[in-house]
């Protein structure tokens, strides 16, 4: 099953490689990973999307907690949560495709960030399914380039991950 793990860790050189190294060394999957510092610059927050059986997810959580620089680990999928991912897509937008691409961007509430006479660069946010849906809704031939951030997640309501 798919799980989203939120990890608070010390913002120190090498901390990220410990997390990534743990996943590769123990054969766990990383579907996506996003990380940046928090409002407290000594601390980073990481969102890891992974999948595995309950036993595997339990081990991943325990192994993450064992890393000396990890302060807290929460499985967001244990409760209500919000996840968002950002994608930038550069598409061919010439001739008959040009209006169609604008329409598709509007339907998916995307924003066009950059325009040339042959292309649009569209920004889309949403959960991963929405971004996948956009990709499958447009013709593969018009996609010039995509880049995705991987999911960031946060608990709903009173669920707070902080030290």
């Amino acid at each position: 099953m798919r799980h989203i793990l939120s990890v608070l860790l010390e913002n120190e050189a090498g901390a990220l490689s410990r997390v990534v190294g743990l996943f590769s060394a123990r054969g766990y999957n990383i579907d996506s990973l996003s990380v940046a510092t928090t409002e407290d610059i000594t601390m980073s927050r990481m969102t890891i999307v992974t999948h595995g059986s309950d036993d595997v997810i339990e081990q991943i959580t325990k192994q993450l907690n064992k890393l000396i620089e990890v302060v807290k680990v929460v499985d967001l999928t244990d409760g209500n949560h919000i996840e968002r991912e950002l994608m930038l897509v550069k598409v061919r937008a010439a001739g008959k495709d040009r209006d169609e691409m604008k329409r598709m961007a509007d339907i998916f509430r995307g924003r066009i960030l950059d325009v040339t006479d042959k292309s649009y660069t569209i920004e889309l946010t949403g959960d991963s399914h929405k971004l996948d849906a956009f990709i499958s809704a447009i013709e593969p031939g018009v996609i010039l380039e995509t880049v995705r951030t991987g999911a960031s997640g946060i608990g709903r309501g009173e669920r707070i991950l902080k030290i």
Partner: protein, 573 residues
């Protein structure tokens, strides 16, 4: 009081002294020259110059294993560090507390492919509990404190501090922190009382209770508590390879080591018990074999471990308890002392009857030498036990001799049996005996090894001469890589690919060349006398080359991937 201003090198040396370290095992080189210069000027601790960095780490590791002090190793950058990696990984697999200090090229040269540069933090990351690269001399003292603190608390393990050469030259005010807290590192050390109560209740109501203990009991100095609890409960008790000595082998409740080469009775009791109490052990593949086969409907498992990730990793556990083994056992003993309830004596008696039936199989047998026949390796180990009064510190290398040492030298006390259980590193025997002897100068230290393993760190005979380390080396020489040969005989149709060693050195001359005493023993009748003679040479290293029966195999044996009740016994072949 004003804080003294010290150089980084002085700080390193002061920190080591502050931790009451007696010995640092190491090898100098360019990046650590400043640190060595400060070592030269001080007398708080001694430095032991090994002949290869791997041995420095093994010796420091054994120093930790055989005492309650912490081992420290010091190596230079690049090849110094890469040579040390095997030692670090060995200590990591067996959760041994130690601190490794490595030199690094100057900070401005890092990443420039400088002479003797390597990515030390990257290379060692997967085989240390934690590691640090010190980038500012002001962080050095705190980092050293953290290293010792992390290494010795929670689940112990090796911690590495990588120090660039320029940091050892820079100066700052020095103060060694007395206490330390880290917001990101707070291991759970106190067992949950509710869970402990559940565990006691389960054990009291068990019909076929079994206690299985591992290295955690030895590392946490919980042997006294374990022994008391096992005797209060009246249950059978088994130890893993790493846990030997955690419960006295001479106690009638001890059913021997379990696992791949464990006793029939220990393995059968593991399989057939109704409540299994695991103490500081981790159900690894060499211990329970196939987890699918190990599973039994209705059997309850209690597991104490300091590391939550060891619990329910390979085997589902009913009552997990995270905490220091010693404290949890103390709490269990206190609960039992306040209650009159004990396990049902009738059920326990019936259980022991079953266990005794298994014991009557007498699985630990070998054919004794007949007439002028070859020396049996098992007999050498038993003779060593007699010659040392069963009270020596025994180190071993890895292979058949390691298993025979574990099987035929019963340990009544912890920290007497020093071997590489997790990583299975050949070559540890001599450096382990060095570390153990320096930590226990009055003890008899014997290294049980084979002609394959011993050659992997044979250069340390020179270190032993320099520091007068009077270990006894028991070389069970069967002219082949015995455990490999055994697997080839059982599972590879007797095709002995590269397991026969041709052109072995004359070990007697080799020992003499290094300034030690060498003995070659070829007759079974000479074993006992030679061992007594060697043990009596208290101040000399004696290298004893026993020419043993090369056809001997280690029994019982559970083939890889099989279950605990699928042992091959000697009599069955």
């Amino acid at each position: 009081m004003t804080k003294p201003t010290l150089t980084g090198a002085e700080i390193v040396v002061r920190c080591i002294a502050e931790e009451n370290v007696d010995f640092v095992f190491g090898y100098p080189g360019g990046a650590v020259l400043n640190i060595y210069d400060e070592i030269f000027k001080q007398d708080k601790f001694k430095h032991v110059l090994v002949r290869h960095e791997q041995a420095a780490v093994h010796a420091a590791d054994a120093y930790s294993r055989s005492s309650t002090k912490i081992g420290v190793a010091l190596v230079t950058s690049g090849p110094g560090l890469t040579n040390a990696v095997t030692g670090i990984a060995t200590a990591y697999m067996d959760s041994i507390p130690m601190v490794i200090i490595s030199g690094q090229v100057p900070t401005h040269a890092i990443g420039q492919d400088a002479f003797q540069e390597c990515d030390t933090v990257g290379i060692t990351r997967p085989c240390v509990k934690h590691n640090f690269l010190v980038k500012d001399v002001k962080d050095l003292a705190l980092t050293m404190k953290k290293a010792f603190y992390i290494a010795t608390t929670g689940r112990p393990g090796p911690v590495l501090v990588d120090i660039p050469k320029d940091i050892t030259q820079h100066s700052c005010a020095f103060e060694y922190p007395k206490e330390i807290t880290m917001r990101s590192y707070n291991p759970v050390i106190k067992g949950h009382s509710g869970q402990i109560k559940k565990a006691v209740d389960l054990l009291l109501n068990a019909k076929r209770p079994m206690i299985y203990t591992g290295g955690g009991v030895v590392l946490n100095d919980a042997a006294a508590q374990l022994t008391k609890l096992v005797r209060m409960l009246g249950t059978p008790c088994t130890n893993t390879l790493m846990g030997l000595g955690g419960f006295p082998a001479s106690d009638p409740q001890f059913v021997g080591m379990l696992g791949m080469h464990g006793t029939y009775e220990a393995n059968m009791a593991m399989q057939e018990c109704d409540v299994l109490f695991a103490v500081g052990a981790r159900f690894d593949d060499r211990v329970i074999g196939n987890p699918g086969h190990f599973f039994r409907e209705g059997r309850k498992i209690i597991h104490i471990d300091i590391d939550p990730s060891s619990i329910s990793k390979r085997v589902k556990v009913d009552v997990p308890i995270v905490g220091y083994v010693r404290d949890v056992l103390d709490e269990m003993i206190a609960m039992l002392e306040q209650s009159d309830k004990r396990p049902d004596p009738v059920a326990l008696k019936a259980w022991w009857t079953t266990v005794k039936e298994w014991q009557s199989k007498k699985c630990m047998v070998y054919k004794a030498t007949v007439g002028d026949g070859k020396i049996k390796p098992q007999a050498v180990v038993q003779a060593l036990w007699r010659a040392t009064g069963g009270d020596a510190i025994i180190t071993s290398d890895v292979g058949q001799h390691q298993m025979w040492a574990a099987q035929y030298y019963p340990f009544d006390k912890p920290r007497k049996w020093i071997n590489s259980g997790g990583l299975g590193t050949m070559g540890v025997g001599i450096p382990y005996a060095m570390g153990a002897q320096l930590a226990n100068p009055d003890a008899t230290v014997a290294c049980i090894t084979g002609e394959g393993s011993v050659q992997m760190c044979i250069q340390e005979l020179s270190t032993c001469k320099q520091y007068n380390i009077p270990m006894k080396i028991i070389n069970l020489n069967n002219r082949s890589l015995g455990m490999v040969r055994q697997w080839q005989e059982f599972f590879y149709g007797n095709r002995y690919a590269e397991s026969y060693m041709h052109s072995l050195p004359d070990f007697v001359k080799l020992a003499e060349a290094y300034g030690h005493v060498g003995m070659k023993i070829e007759k079974a009748g000479d074993v006992e006398g030679a061992l007594r003679e060697a043990v009596a040479l208290k101040d000399r290293l004696v290298f004893m080359d026993f020419i043993t029966d090369e056809t001997e195999n280690v029994f019982p044996m559970i083939p890889g991937g099989k279950g605990l009740s699928e042992m091959i016994l000697a009599e069955e072949l």
